[in-house]
Symmetry: C2
Subunit: 333 residues, 2 copies
DNA sequence: GCCTCACATTACATCGATGTAATGGCTCAT
DNA sequence: ATGAGCCATTACATCGATGTAATGTGAGGC
C-alpha cells in the first residue's frame, strides 16, 4: 500500500498537518522538524495523492486542451507547445479531440465542470454554438483561433490581415490570376471566411477584379481533401498563376497534385500556405507561408487562463499573435 | 456553488447513497425513486466531482500517454489514435512529453503514482534505464516501440523484419548501393539498432557486402537533422543508389535536400521511409515506406493496459503489430 | 522567578462520493 | 394474523490532504 501523510507523520514523529506544512511551505516549519519530515518522506517514497488534494483544494493542477484533430500537423504543433509551456508552469494537460463532432465540445465543458480540470483551452470547430455554454459557472476557458465569440478570452492570429499580406506578396510577384484553396463551401469556418475576406481586400488594393472561378472550395483542411479538390478543379479549369492555400497541410496536398500533373512550382504556378508547420520548410519546393510563433500562442493562452483563474469576473481579453509572411521557393526561385 | 450528491438527495427526498446508487447502477434502485433522483440531478445540473470519486474509488478514469515529442507527425498520429480509442472506452488521456530529457520519464512515473492516473502508455527514449523503475508498486505501464525491456507489457512493430523487407524491396529494384539514414551514432536508440540489423540481414540475402560508407548516422529523427546529415554526407560522398531513411520525417528532409541539389527521385536515387505518416503519401514524390495501423497500436496498448489493471501479477505480454512495405513513387516511377 | 507574546505544532473537521452494515417496509406462506 | 425472508434505503465511516482554531513550548522582559 502506498504511504500517506499519516504514515510519514508517524515515522517522523509529528502530526499529519506538519507534514502537509512541510510540503506546501506556506505555514513555517522549524528546520529540524522539516528535516525529519523530509527524511521520512524519502524513506517511505511518499507521493501525495492528487485526488485527495484536488478534493480538498478544489484544484487539480490539470488543464484540458481541446483540438479538432490531434493528428494534423498544425494541431500537433499547438499541442506540443501547450504541453511544453504548461509543464514548465507545473500544469498537466489533458487532451481531448472534438473531431468533427460538435457534441464533444459540450461534453468537454461538462467534464471540465467535474473538477478534474481547472481550465480549458479550446480550439473550436463549431463557433457560435459553443458560445451558449460558456458562462460563469464553468471553469476558465480560453479559445484559440478565429472565433466569433465574445464571451471568453481568446488568442488568435489576425487572419484577415495575414491573408491580405500573403495575397499582396503573391501579387507583388506579378501574378494576377490568384486562386484560393480552402474557401468555405456553405457556412464555412470563421477562419475560411476571414481569410477569404483578406484575400478580397488585397485584390482590391492590387486592382484585380474578383473572379469567382478562382475560388476553390474545400471544406476539410487536410492534404487529402485539398488534393481531391484541386484535382477536380484542374479537370475543368486552367491552372491559375498562383494558389493560396488556407493551410500548409492543404498546400502540401496541392503540391503533390501539381507535381503529378507535371506542373512546375513556382514557374507554372506559385503556391503559398498558412501556419508554417514544421514540414513546410521541407516541402518540395519549400513552402511560402504565414508564420507565427506557436509557442507564443501557447504561452499567451496559458497566461490568459491562469489570470482568469485569479479573476473570474474581469473583462474578456483578446490577444493577437504577430505573424509574418515567409517567402520560400514555392513562390520565387 | 456546484451541486453535490447531498443537494440532489435533499431535492429528491432520498439519502445521498441512493443518489450514488442511481449513478453507478450496481445496487438496484426502484423505478420511481430512480426517476425522482434523475429529475433532481437534471434540475440541479449535477456533475459528479471526479476528485472525490477518484479519492474514494482509487481510480481516476485518466491514463497518461508519454511521447518524446508531440510535435512530430509520428507522435501526433499515435497520440491521435490513443486519444480516440481511449475516448471510446471512456478514458481521458493526459499527455506528457519526455522530450530529450530522460529525467522526465522518471518524473512521470512518480506522477503516475500520485493517483491521478490509472495507467501509463510510454514511448520511451531512454531504454533500459527506465527499466529500473518499472516495478509492482507502479500503476500499469505499457511500452510502445522497440524497447529492450522485459518488465512491462509492450506493443511494437518488428523493426528488424520490416527494415529487412524494405531493404529487400529496394534491392529488388536492382539497386545495390543502398544507404541508410538514421543509424545510431554512439549508443543509439533501440529502433536504430534493430533497423540497422534488419538492413544488414537483407544485404546478406542480397549478396551485397556491408559498406560502412553507406551508413549515415543521424541522432535526431527529424527532417531538420536528416537534412543536415544528408547535406554533409553528400559533400564528401557520391550519391547512393537508394536511401532508406529510418523514419518518414527524415525521408521528407532528405527529399528536400535531394531536390535542392537537382537529384531526381527515384531516377538518380530511390528513397524510402518508415512509419507511413499522413504526409508520406503527399511527399514529392510520394514516399515508399513501412506502413502499419496506428489505431491498432493504440487499441492494443489500451487493451494491454486495461487487462493489466485487472491482473497486476500476470505474465508480461508483447504484441507485435503487422506491417507492410508500401511502394510509392519514391522508389519506382 | 513569573508573565507575556510569538511561533511551531496539534486535534478536529472538512472536501464529495461510496462501501458497509444496519434498518425499514413489504410480500408471501402458514 | 404473524413470522420469515427479501429488497430498497439509510446512517455512518472512509478515502488522503489541508484549513481552522486551539494547544503547547520557548524565549525575553520586568
Amino acid at each position: 500500500m502506498r504511504a500517506t501523510v499519516k504514515d510519514v507523520a508517524r515515522l517522523a514523529g509529528v502530526s499529519p498537518k506538519t507534514v502537509s506544512n512541510v510540503m506546501n511551505g506556506i505555514v513555517p516549519v522549524s528546520g529540524p522538524t522539516k528535516l525529519k519530515v523530509e527524511q521520512a518522506m524519502a524513506e517511505l517514497d511518499y507521493v501525495p495523492n492528487l485526488s485527495a488534494r484536488g478534493l480538498r483544494n478544489g484544484r487539480s493542477g490539470v488543464i484540458a486542451l481541446a483540438l479538432p484533430d490531434l493528428g494534423t500537423p498544425y494541431s500537433a504543433e499547438i499541442a506540443h507547445s501547450v504541453v511544453e509551456v504548461a509543464h514548465e508552469q507545473g500544469w498537466s494537460v489533458q487532451i481531448e479531440e472534438t473531431g468533427s463532432d460538435p457534441a464533444r465540445e459540450y461534453e468537454l465543458m461538462s467534464r471540465a465542470r467535474s473538477n478534474l480540470i481547472d481550465g480549458l483551452i479550446l480550439n473550436p470547430v463549431v463557433l457560435d454554438e459553443s458560445a451558449v455554454k460558456v458562462g460563469v459557472t464553468l471553469p476558465p476557458v480560453v479559445l484559440l483561433g478565429e472565433v466569433s465569440q465574445k464571451l471568453a478570452d481568446r488568442v488568435w492570429v489576425d487572419s484577415v490581415a495575414a491573408a491580405r499580406d500573403m495575397t499582396l506578396a503573391l501579387g507583388r510577384t506579378g501574378r494576377r490570376r490568384i486562386a484560393i484553396l480552402g474557401a468555405a463551401g456553405g457556412r464555412g469556418s470563421a477562419a475560411a471566411i476571414l481569410r477569404t475576406r483578406g484575400y478580397q481586400a488585397a485584390l482590391e488594393e492590387l486592382g484585380i477584379a474578383w473572379d469567382e472561378s478562382l475560388i476553390i472550395p474545400c471544406e476539410k483542411w487536410s492534404p487529402d481533401a485539398a488534393a481531391r479538390a484541386l484535382t477536380a478543379y484542374l479537370e475543368v479549369r486552367p491552372v491559375p498563376e498562383a494558389l493560396f492555400c488556407f493551410t500548409d497541410s492543404m498546400a502540401i496536398g496541392a503540391l503533390s497534385v501539381l507535381w503529378k500533373r507535371g506542373l512546375r512550382v513556382p514557374d507554372d504556378v506559385a503556391v503559398a500556405g498558412f501556419d508554417d508547420i514544421a514540414d513546410a520548410r521541407y516541402a518540395v519546393p519549400s513552402l511560402t507561408t504565414v508564420s507565427f510563433d506557436k509557442r507564443r500562442v501557447a504561452s499567451e493562452a496559458l497566461r490568459l487562463l491562469t489570470e482568469r483563474m485569479q479573476d473570474r469576473e474581469g473583462p474578456q481579453r483578446v490577444v493577437a499573435i504577430d505573424y509574418e509572411v515567409v517567402e520560400r521557393e514555392s513562390t520565387s526561385s
